[in-house]
């Protein structure tokens, strides 16, 4: 029992506090922008305009958000089991190998068979890359945080090697595979043109966005409507009670990590099958780590994760527009701003809570109902 814990109404906890955190993050970012001599309001306007001001901006924003939903859900599932999976980056990277291997190796198969197979292969590779740390934690007690970090490094080297020596066609200069033509996910633009005869601005948004929605629903269903989900949450919330209840921690740890890795693997579906159509170096680009912030900010709940992923999508898209429009605010500055948001939304999530509950107490004693 922390002091004043649970004394705040729900709407404050789930609504007001994230908003305050966001506002503080924006103010801090504004100060940074001010220091380098730019107008923070203008900068913010460019970011919003750049992501929400056009169909193209929306497309990019939702495309980024799709990645973050997958990696955010991955972190959340592990988190509910009391595990901190920070290996989403490596799991998503390995998943690309699965998607590309099936997409290229079995491309004699027709599209409706090949695509689901490639998606499953991506999930399987991601799951496998999380399964190993899961087993090490469950059976050997190796700390999951350490092993998943190490597995990020191993994945980085391993995938680089595989692309260079296995996937790269002879004579090709760029370190990437040949084009995956068989397992192909239609982009929003192609759907609009082929099926509705309308032309829309090009963006990387593709059908995977629906996959993200399905995944969010599936995670909710798993955690709150199945016995396995109950066991996962019980273990995460109170391991001693879980053991009393006959829930086997080793089993649940392995299962939760495997599911987590599979979700992270879906990120490769969006990126490799939906956008790049080939396997290339470093395509995960930090999405695995953003997933941690997204899960924290979304309180590990699928709805929260959808919202948080969109906010980060906005920051990413708006950020690149900003660095384009204002060269003084370069790519690194944008990363600083994103970092500030992560800091205030994630790490300092509860920083303003004590002050708020004190405020609640002094204003209207009837307030805390």
């Amino acid at each position: 029992m922390m002091q004043a814990r649970g004394e705040l109404p729900n709407w404050v906890d789930a609504g007001l506090i994230p908003l305050i955190n966001l506002a503080v993050a924006l103010i801090a970012s504004g100060l940074v922008v001010l220091v380098i001599g730019e107008n923070p309001f203008e900068a913010m306007w460019i970011m919003i305009q750049g992501s929400l001001g056009s169909l193209k901006g929306w497309g990019y924003m939702l495309y980024y958000a799709t990645n973050f939903v997958f990696t955010g859900l991955a972190v959340a599932v592990a988190f509910h089991a009391g595990l901190f999976n920070i290996g989403g980056e490596g799991q998503a990277y390995m998943a690309g190998v699965g998607a590309a291997a099936v997409g290229l190796g079995l491309d004699f198969l027709p599209w409706p068979i090949l695509l689901p197979l490639a998606i499953l292969a991506a999930m399987a590779m991601g799951a496998f890359w999380a399964w190993i740390p899961g087993v090490l934690q469950a059976k050997r007690g190796s700390h999951i945080v350490i092993t998943t970090i190490m597995f990020n490094f191993i994945a980085a080297s391993l995938v680089g090697y595989l692309i260079n020596y296995w996937f790269r066609p002879v004579g090709k200069m760029a370190v990437e595979s040949r084009e995956i033509t068989g397992a192909y996910i239609l982009s929003a633009r192609e759907v609009a043109r082929e099926f509705f005869g309308v032309r829309i601005a090009s963006s990387p948004l593709n059908f995977s966005v629906f996959l993200a929605l399905i995944a969010a629903w599936a995670v909710w269903y798993l955690l709150w409507r199945t016995k396995l989900g109950y066991e996962i949450r019980a273990l995460g919330a109170n391991p001693a009670a879980a053991v009393y209840a006959g829930i086997r921690p080793d089993r649940i740890i392995i299962i939760a990590m495997t599911i987590s890795g599979g979700l992270a693997g879906l990120m490769a579906v969006n990126e490799i099958l939906g956008v790049q159509h080939r396997l290339l170096l470093g395509y995960v680009g930090g999405a695995g780590f953003v997933g941690i912030a997204v899960a924290l900010m979304g309180r590990s709940h699928p709805i929260g994760i959808l919202l948080a992923a969109m906010l980060f999508g906005l920051l990413y898209q708006g950020g690149s527009e900003l660095s384009f429009a204002r060269p003084e605010i370069n790519r690194d500055m944008v990363v600083v701003i994103q970092g500030l948001v992560i800091l205030f939304m994630g790490a300092l999530e509860y920083a303003f809570r004590p002050a708020l509950s004190a405020l609640f107490y002094s204003v209207g004693r009837e307030g805390n109902q």
Partner: protein, 505 residues
């Protein structure tokens, strides 16, 4: 004389629960003031308000006649109020000394504070019979000593008024006696003590005055000398309570549980359950008496499948369940288990009551086919159990941690009894439970027996063991010291519990 503490028209609601209704109470300085009341009556809430954990919606607090605003525990401590909580608030990996100093470090370096504290601790220990090794790790101390650390912590910070919330719930009779000696010394030295307890015997033995709470209201305050146990019980519950257990003779049937030469060793290889054998038959309650920490908890764990025996067998209805080592399979065989430690194991604080009410039984088909968990069925099941066992408030959606201690216990007992077991194993079934509810829980346990089910009961309350059991085993240092009938006298049992035995020679 100005009261040490005055609570005036304190009112507090948690959502729809009216936990304190217009409560006024004055505590005389240098006295021991008891507070009693049913589970959920609002005792802990009232004291938490005084200690600054919760804020009253309205009302006033006066300390030594002066109106004060207590916004946090540090305000309370500054006003000379200390509290020992129902559930301890200690940092387990820290030493006693470190725990005592937390919050009073004063300065950047910990060294000077620690050496000052060491001197002060020695003085307090001498003055109040509060001996504890300052360098012991708190997590490794028995509960009785942990509680002393809590008291030391409060005194160290200059407490003039000490609040104790159900301090004896977790203590052995000996430890409780020691605690009372400490409290009397505190009183003699002019300190004020507020004592919450469910044990009317303790109220009669040690308090000067006693206040009774019922459903959020303070219904009466009496001079202890001028009242009786019966009157207090009636004031508390609002009806006449049976303070005695009524049960007919047992009609034992065939053997359901046979424990053979069971041994369980801890990580250091020390046998905590040492070659224990006994049998339990249908329609029988077997009580296991003993000072806590003599292997009873471990014995329950092994039978429940949580711990695997080092050697020996647990034969339940003809099957060796010891080798299963899996609580889920053991439950499937028809065993239910009320764990000793409800906070740590019996339920999950962050789950709502409905979800805690299926813990361990969540895989039942009646809660959803196959892999599914049907939320409506989970809630419906909890509703039935909560109503039948009078869990208050009967709200399946309230978070488990927000129920009062006794109501959490009722929730767990309901869950296990309603699973309709062939064998119920219970540890401390009525710890922290009010007398009305004790009466009810005892009735249900006896009813189970009369239906031909077997009950294995572990309790540190000798009264409870003696009034419920058909046979009594006494454990000491992991071994069974002897078996007695329910008529065995208290002195003899006490000797066995202390390891003195004629028949074990």
């Amino acid at each position: 004389m100005t009261p040490a503490i005055e609570l005036i028209r304190i009112d507090k609601r948690f959502g729809s629960v009216h936990a304190n209704k217009d409560v006024s109470l004055a505590i005389a300085p240098g006295s021991i003031h008891g507070i009693i009341g049913e589970n959920g009556a609002g005792k802990s809430t009232l004291m938490s308000i005084l200690f600054g954990f919760y804020h009253a919606d309205s009302g006033e607090i006066r300390v030594k006649g002066k109106p004060v605003r207590i916004k946090s525990p540090s305000d309370a401590i500054a006003l000379g109020i200390g509290m020992v909580h129902q559930h301890f608030m200690l940092v387990e990996p820290f030493t006693v000394l470190e725990n005592v100093v937390i919050g009073a470090e004063g300065g950047t370096l910990i060294g000077p504070a620690l050496s000052r504290a060491r001197a002060e601790l020695t003085r307090l220990a001498k003055d109040y019979e509060l001996e504890v090794d300052p360098d012991a790790i708190v997590g490794e101390l028995p509960v009785g000593l942990q509680q002393r650390v809590e008291i030391l912590k409060a005194l160290f910070k200059g407490a003039e008024t000490l609040i104790l919330d159900e301090p004896t719930g977790v203590l052995t009779p000996d430890e409780a006696d020691h605690l009372f000696r400490i409290l009397r010394t505190l009183k003699d030295q002019g300190k004020t003590v507020i004592l919450i307890t469910h044990k009317l015997r303790e109220i009669m033995a040690i308090t000067d005055r006693v206040s009774v709470m019922r459903r959020g209201e303070l219904v009466a305050t009496r001079e202890t000398k001028a009242t009786t146990v019966e009157e207090l019980a009636e004031l508390m519950v609002g009806r006449h309570v049976l303070l005695r257990v009524e049960k007919g003779p047992s009609k034992p049937g065939e053997t359901v549980l046979e424990v053979k030469n069971l041994t369980w060793k801890d990580r250091k290889g020390i046998p905590r359950v040492d070659n224990v054998s006994f049998t339990l038959r249908k329609g029988e309650i077997l009580g296991i008496a003993g000072v806590s920490g003599n292997g009873q908890s471990e014995l329950l764990d092994v039978i429940a499948g949580i711990a695997r025996p080092a050697s020996g067998q647990v034969i339940f209805e003809g099957k060796d369940i010891g080798i299963l080592g899996d609580p889920r399979h053991v439950r499937a065989e028809g065993l239910a288990h009320v764990p000793e430690d409800r906070q740590h194991r019996g339920l999950i604080g962050s789950f709502d009551a409905a979800e805690s009410a299926i813990l361990g039984w969540h895989h039942l088909d009646s809660l959803g086919k196959g892999y599914r968990l049907d939320r409506d069925k989970v809630i419906a099941r909890a509703k039935v159990e909560m109503e039948e066992f009078d869990v208050r408030p009967p709200d399946p959606l309230l978070k488990s941690s927000k129920f009062s201690g006794g109501n959490q216990q009722k929730l767990i007992i309901a869950r296990e009894i309603k699973s309709n077991p062939d064998l119920l194993i219970v540890g401390q079934p009525t710890r922290g439970v009010d007398i009305g509810a004790i009466e009810y829980i005892h009735k249900r346990i006896i009813q189970l027996r009369d239906e031909g089910k077997a009950v294995l009961l572990v309790s540190v309350e000798l009264d409870e063991i003696r009034s419920l059991s058909d046979r009594i085993l006494v454990m000491f240092a992991g071994r069974v010291m002897g078996e007695r009938g329910p008529g065995a006298d208290e002195r003899e049992l006490g000797l066995l519990m202390a390891g003195v035995s004629k028949d074990a020679a």
